[in-house]
Symmetry: C2
Subunit: 254 residues, 2 copies
């Protein structure tokens, strides 16, 4: 693999990349913390010995990565930001929409996530979160005759609360990203047919069952329900050849 000299391939490092690297490192090692301020661009060009254009290019990529924020006129300079899931969200969306990821993979991913988060939510939910879920389910029920827009909003609220109640941000983020990507894909595919009445009733019934399991703190059942429901919902959109993995995930042990 590698030569005995230990030499490795190099690629030219552009000035702005080196700057990005340094600042990224400083943030990663906590030398710079959220709320801290970077020196002004004009100062930075001094400390890095480059032109302002180069400093700015570096700041732009940091900004696009959600690490800093520049505001014109602010004499305190660019602000170091708290890490946020926004860029992860965007990256996942892009990847899915690019077609690199198959629908079946996305559904498998979501089945797993949804199942696990329901299991965890049953265990970790606070009473307030339980009430939020109840409210969301009731909102679904009462809006079932009305517009499908407010219905699906309530549906989303319910699942969002479940994710929150799982107390696992990673699942929350990934689940949300997967959900968003999934509805995008499905909307593209079926020309955004609005939820039919029958479908709405089904969704409501599903969510209601899950809610009951979470209320009863039956994590295993909540997870199992969530998995089967997601599979049921998306299963038929998946090409037959890609369905076998899904079936397996539905019933993880025996």
């Amino acid at each position: 693999m590698t030569d005995k000299t230990g030499f490795v391939a190099v690629k030219p490092v552009r000035a702005y990349e080196a700057i990005v690297e340094q600042i990224e490192q400083a943030i990663a090692t906590r030398q710079l913390n959220p709320g801290d301020r970077l020196p002004s661009e004009r100062d930075l060009m001094g400390t890095f010995a480059v032109s302002r254009a180069t400093v700015r290019e570096a700041l732009r990529v940091l900004e696009s990565g959600g690490l800093v924020r520049s505001r014109p006129g602010d004499p305190r300079g660019p602000e170091i930001l708290q890490a946020s899931p926004a860029t992860l969200h965007k990256a996942m969306n892009r990847l899915v929409r690019s077609g690199t990821i198959k629908l079946s993979e996305l559904v498998e991913f979501r089945v797993m996530l949804e199942g696990a988060s329901c299991t965890l939510a049953a265990e970790h939910r606070t009473p307030e979160q339980l009430e939020e879920m109840r409210a969301a389910v009731e909102a679904m029920e009462s809006s079932i005759a009305g517009g499908s827009a407010v219905f699906s909003q309530a549906d989303v609220d319910f699942h969002a609360t479940v994710w929150e109640a799982s107390h696992n941000q990673l699942m929350q983020i990934c689940g949300d990203a997967a959900r968003g990507a999934l509805v995008d894909l499905v909307n593209d595919r079926i020309d955004s047919a609005p939820d039919s009445g029958a479908q709405m009733k089904l969704s409501l019934a599903h969510d209601y069952e899950i809610f009951n399991a979470i209320e009863a703190q039956d994590g295993a059942r909540a997870g199992q329900l969530a998995r089967t429901f997601v599979i049921e919902y998306y299963g038929e959109m998946i090409e037959h050849g890609d369905r076998n993995g899904l079936a397996l995930l539905g019933v993880p042990s025996e």
Copy 2:
């Protein structure tokens, strides 16, 4: 929430952002496809009616998002890239390393991922992939007396192959990111104590069992094994208050 006029808050859009937006859109809608070329920066400044510095800032954020690549001297202009998981990978790493995510969450996430990917791998693995896994496990076995570096490399290889065999890139990416973040965290915590001999033997035994289940195409068992092993491995590093969720995930349905 919103006024009856439908007015919404605005925030100033900087010129380079508008350019990024347009190009991103063109890629998302397949007007630009991987392999296609953007006009040169000098042309772009004409079509967008901005200076080259602005065009360049836009290209830098596109480039940092993995959407395009610029090479000096290439007369065909910046290239549209195939979407790659790299930026997702980076985003997840950043999020995890920022400390926004607790260790217990990370472990829960990985338990779930590892379990699911083993289940899927048991179903989807090709004969070649099975052989790769066998080779990796055997490499672990033979290197157990030698350095711990080559041992853990073989260990990583084994799990990488499993992910690949799951034929689910999303899990592969997320799993890899979670694994990387996890070893980082653990290394920080225990001053990178190298694997002891006993630990190596344990890991080997675990991987071997998983391998057998995958070979036998017993997805449920492979997943179950993977979950329990990950829990066993990381469980005691987690604060007691955060362990209950883990236990639940270990045995999803009774």
